[in-house]
């Protein structure tokens, strides 16, 4: 009950924020929402289903390029282009999920790593220049005001992202709480037991890959619209690894956690940029250093990320008192990470 109240409050706050915030800040928070959607997709796959992907930037890129091409070359409106691009990503993820079935943890990491490294080159492939614009990329027109109401471009981008994010979060939440969610978590924790209980592991794993790619693709499509262009360099290994950083910091197998992760990967590079004053050009190294240290530190002290820390806080005595006093459960029970 209390959790739902918190969520609603956060949503209302986010919904009215564009009325008070400056254009640039709005753009940054739209990016946070976009990253949150992509991280949610990755977390469904890696956190909940236990399939490690180091290459989700590729699906993000496919969604971005797909939406950009549909908008620019076919003249589709963005509200049609983004779902179509997302659907294409579902198919791509589903197909990639098939060979991935045979890979097992480490090999899947290798294959997706290869996918992430090869993506920028494939996007710049010369024979596809007429579609992708080669290394120049594609310019995407910014969306007009939603429903013809008076608003700035930044406001309409933000509200668009917020609306899509809310829908996708609700869907993911329902998916995880229901039968499907129990099945994919069971496959992560004990594949053999899950299969002997009648869970079709191959089907669930491939579909999970597809849904995960769908989320990443929709995020990519939103990103293309929000940024105003797509180009091969923005979809390299760095992006894929940033997604991994995001779910590790936010919390593996946590849905609200991805919001913390998204804030982290959006703002840490920004803050590092401001340190250029003290450290000169080489301050570019700082986000990487923070990412690396945080990843190792998180694995050592908080393998379930910020969401996990909050949950252990919930188990602290003060919090329990608060719960008893208010008569409400403030935070959900902790899920478990595969330990074998």
């Amino acid at each position: 009950m209390a959790a739902r109240l918190l969520w609603s409050l956060a949503f209302v706050f986010a919904a009215v924020a564009p009325l008070f915030m400056s254009g640039y800040h709005l753009y940054q928070f739209a990016q946070v929402l976009i990253y949150a959607i992509a991280l949610l997709g990755l977390n469904l796959l890696t956190g909940f289903n236990g399939q490690l992907s180091l290459g989700h930037g590729a699906f993000f890129a496919l969604g971005g390029y797909g939406a950009a091409i549909l908008i620019v070359k076919l003249g589709l409106p963005y509200w049609a282009a983004i779902p179509i691009a997302g659907a294409a990503c579902f198919v791509a993820g589903f197909l990639f999920g098939f060979p991935a079935l045979h890979f097992g943890g480490l090999y899947l990491a290798l294959a997706t790593f290869a996918l992430a490294v090869a993506t920028p080159q494939m996007l710049a492939y010369k024979r596809l220049d007429f579609l992708t614009g080669g290394s120049q990329g594609v310019q995407v027109p910014k969306p007009g005001p939603l429903f013809g109401l008076p608003m700035t471009v930044d406001q309409s981008v933000f509200w668009l992202c917020l609306a899509v994010a809310v829908v996708l979060f609700v869907i993911a939440g329902n998916l995880i709480r229901g039968r499907v969610g129990r099945a994919i978590v069971a496959i992560r924790d004990h594949p053999i037991a899950a299969e002997s209980m009648g869970v079709d592991a191959a089907l669930y794993k491939t579909v999970c890959f597809g849904i995960s790619a769908l989320y990443a693709g929709i995020a990519g499509g939103l990103d293309a619209v929000a940024v105003g262009f797509v180009s091969p360099e923005s979809f390299g290994l760095a992006l894929s690894l940033a997604f991994l950083v995001g779910i590790v910091i936010g919390g593996l197998a946590s849905i609200p956690g991805v919001l913390f992760g998204a804030v982290f990967i959006e703002f840490v590079p920004n803050w590092a940029d401001q340190l250029t004053v003290y450290f000169g050009e080489n301050a570019k190294a700082l986000p990487g250093a923070v990412y690396g240290l945080m990843m190792i530190a998180m694995m050592a002290v908080a393998p379930m990320g910020i969401a996990g820390l909050l949950r252990s806080l919930a188990r602290a005595r003060v919090f329990r008192k608060l719960e008893r006093w208010s008569g409400a459960r403030l935070l959900a029970a902790p899920p478990r990470l595969n330990e074998d």
Partner: protein, 290 residues
């Protein structure tokens, strides 16, 4: 024909680099069943150390040897301080730690040495060896160095008591411990050796691909492809795979897919091998007991 031989030769030169990088990966895999995703960035950092010494006017081979020794020490330290605490963690956690390590080495190199691309000296300059037309002096030297590294690794593991102890620790830690092998230290030594081999690979690659903090990304990917192709638990397979990938990448890049999408060759090799023959050409098939 000359052009083809030329492509073949430069494929062999980089293939040597892939082969020894793949060998370093396999060494760690055999002992821990894990692939070190930070191998490339560690090698890149070692290469920067050598570069800094060369900038200070050290002679090439002094800088080379010092960089290899420092990398060995660094590799041991990384194993003891960072990798050891996660020895019993799930695969996911280990991979995340390795990625974290690669972020850190990348950032260290960028912070101390900058992000601009540097040229890197080669000890093998001058005219091509034996007056051949296909291979530059550096390419020949690079193949030679790779072969020397392979021979040394082979001799070490085959003929020294320490090498035997390390193999024992990797194959059967429990029994090795019972006969008095200090398994933990053998692992740390393995990491040191892998880091030292990586340093050699980096220094041989840098004159070809130029030195910058992201130089090893592609090389590591080809080394992965080589290791997977040869069978990730087989050192000889990794070496054969590394050379094969080097040649295949160069020939396909020049004649089939085009230079600018060469990295996809590695992707196709990795996925193709994993689908068709997951144990690779020479690897052992793993049978899991249910």
């Amino acid at each position: 024909m000359t052009e083809l031989l030329h492509q073949l030769a430069s494929g062999l030169a980089l293939g040597g680099v892939y082969a020894i990088t793949a060998l370093a990966l396999v060494m760690i895999f055999q002992a821990t069943q894990l692939v070190n995703f930070a191998q490339g960035e560690m090698a890149m950092f070692s290469t920067y150390l050598a570069w800094a010494m060369l900038q200070n006017g050290w002679s090439y081979w002094t800088a080379f040897a010092t960089a290899v020794v420092l990398s060995f020490v660094g590799g041991v330290a990384v194993e003891r301080l960072v990798v050891r605490p996660f020895a019993h963690a799930p695969i996911l956690a280990s991979v995340i730690v390795f990625i974290g390590l690669s972020f850190i080495f990348n950032a260290l190199a960028g912070f101390f040495f900058g992000y601009s691309v540097q040229s890197f000296d080669t000890p093998f300059d001058g005219r091509p060896w034996f007056g051949n037309k296909f291979m530059s002096a550096h390419e020949s030297g690079s193949v030679l160095v790779s072969l020397i590294v392979l021979a040394l690794v082979y001799l070490f593991f085959r003929f020294t008591p320490l090498g035997l102890a390390m193999r024992a620790a990797a194959q059967n830690p429990t029994s090795a411990r019972l006969v008095g092998v200090r398994v933990g230290w053998m692992l740390a030594l393995g990491w040191g050796l892998a880091a030292a081999i990586g340093a050699v690979a980096g220094m041989m690659a840098a004159p070809i691909v130029y030195l910058d903090p992201n130089m090893m990304g592609g090389i590591l990917l080809y080394a992965f492809a080589g290791a997977v192709l040869g069978g990730i638990d087989n050192p000889w397979g990794a070496v054969v795979g590394g050379f094969t990938v080097g040649v295949a990448e160069n020939l396909l890049g020049a004649y089939v897919v085009g230079e600018e999408v060469k990295l996809s060759v590695a992707l196709v090799i990795i996925i193709g091998v994993l689908v068709a023959k997951p144990s690779g050409l020479f690897g052992r098939r793993i049978v899991a007991r249910v």
